[in-house]
């Protein structure tokens, strides 16, 4: 059986997202859903309720008065942020394992995903067309899920990867993955997301976050936001080990975003404080 077949089988066998996360994603797929339904789903899960309340009361979302009800928390954080927290908090098999194939520590994927989510949310506000900042947050949480599956296959070839990177320091890591495994974390992530019936635009962000120009034209502004959020997260030191910054920035982002030195530095100053605060959400 080829490596790509083994990976495909691993995707098939991969533990599905927990029921609460699946129910929330399904609900979000329905544009006419009722916010009360979301509150109800979250409230049924005690651990998740605690997590959402602690985020709502963290300094990143500091308010004059304490958030005490789930309705207040959802209204403050936005529905998609709550969904993102639900996915991250309830999926330890994706986010909490060590990524040996990337030489990344336990929890690095969650730390990177959460920071990409925060950065994508901020950058999406600078888009020339209107895209959902909340949805960008969720896409940031999900964008690298494929790494959880291909990690062990990369781990077996780590010596070859290190040699390759030493010889060619400016390579694109997704291309390295593809050459070694016949696939990469974006393609595998998309397969996982499709199997879980995750909404199409989120699947597109997972698939094209390193090549946003190849996404459907209508999804491109959204996918570029995740692409740029991913870069900001890596630039601020939160990557997933060996592939940190070993990717190409697609400078066609200018079609969709008005960004200058000053605006990008302003975004960094802002998300850097949210990143610091996010540490309390990771544990």
């Amino acid at each position: 059986m080829s490596t790509t077949d083994l990976i495909a089988r691993r995707v098939e066998d991969f533990q599905p997202l927990p029921i609460v996360a699946m129910r929330l994603l399904k609900l979000m797929g329905n544009e006419n859903h009722d916010a009360r339904e979301l509150i109800q789903i979250v409230s049924l899960d005690a651990a998740l309720t605690l997590r959402v309340m602690s985020v709502a009361n963290s300094t990143a979302y500091a308010r004059m008065s304490r958030v005490t009800t789930m309705a207040q928390a959802v209204s403050l954080l936005g529905e998609q942020v709550v969904v993102g927290i639900a996915i991250g908090a309830s999926s330890p098999t994706i986010y909490k394992n060590e990524l040996q194939g990337y030489e990344a520590d336990v929890g690095a994927l969650w730390a990177h995903s959460l920071r990409t989510a925060i950065a994508a949310k901020e950058i999406s506000r600078r888009c020339k067309t209107r895209i959902s900042a909340d949805e960008a947050f969720t896409a940031g949480i999900l964008h690298d899920i494929g790494k959880a599956v291909i990690n062990e296959f990369l781990a077996a070839r780590l010596d070859d990867i290190e040699t390759d990177l030493k010889m060619n320091p400016n390579r694109d890591f997704a291309t390295v993955e593809r050459e070694i495994l016949g696939t990469d974390h974006t393609e595998v992530g998309e397969a996982m997301a499709k199997k879980w019936n995750i909404p199409a635009r989120l699947c597109s962000a997972i698939r094209f976050h390193h090549k946003p120009g190849e996404a459907n034209l209508e999804d491109q502004p959204f996918v570029y936001a995740i692409h740029l959020g991913d870069f900001l997260s890596m630039a601020l030191g939160e990557g997933t080990g060996i592939d940190t910054l070993v990717h190409r920035l697609d400078d066609n982002y200018v079609k969709y975003f008005d960004l200058t030195h000053a605006s990008i530095e302003s975004i960094i100053a802002q998300i850097q404080s949210e990143f610091a605060d996010a540490n309390s959400l990771i544990s």
């Binding site: 990344a104 870069f231 890596m234 910054l245 400078d251 030195h261 960094i268 100053a269 850097q272 404080s273």
Partner: protein, 161 residues
């Protein structure tokens, strides 16, 4: 041996020979190592942005985020520990990874490096080693007892500068 971790926008300075000061994951950020081999006093600062004017509120609460507000305070702490920095301080710069962007917006590492050098020059200081640029992240550790500075990068191993 105690290890002190320095986060983004933070610094640490020490005269304890049994201390190592470490910062993790320098991407476009700059790690400034300063060490006096006469007094064996040293420190490490983790800068994220060149200029505090971009967010003066943030600079007030976390001055180490910016080169212009962080470096003077870092040097002041070293001086208070007993460093005669203008004569003896050895400076090493680490990080400032390159993000290739034809629009010159995301090349924050380069702007950080220029700003750090400018502020150092204004304080009559210059780096003797620059472990900067490239498309990868670096972690740094300063051994206060010896002044040895080690870099670590996933997939690229560990080396001394």
């Amino acid at each position: 041996m105690s290890i002190v971790y320095v986060g983004i926008g933070e610094w640490a300075a020490s005269s304890d020979p049994n201390t190592k000061i470490r910062t993790l994951g320098l991407g476009s950020c700059i790690g400034v190592v300063a060490y006096c081999s006469i007094s064996n006093i040293g420190g490490l600062l983790h800068i994220a942005l060149p200029d505090s004017q971009i967010n003066t509120q943030r600079a007030a609460t976390k001055p180490g985020v910016f080169a212009d507000t962080g470096i003077p305070l870092f040097l002041k702490d070293l001086q208070e520990l007993g460093v005669s920095y203008q004569q003896r301080l050895v400076i090493k710069l680490i990080g400032g990874a390159t993000i290739m962007d034809a629009n010159q917006v995301f090349n924050i590492g380069k702007r950080n490096l220029l700003a750090v050098k400018k502020i150092l020059w204004a304080n009559q200081l210059g780096a003797i080693v620059e472990e900067v640029g490239g498309q990868f992240s670096r972690s740094v550790e300063l051994d206060v007892g010896t002044g040895i500075t080690r870099i670590n990068s996933p997939g690229r191993g560990s080396w001394e500068i």
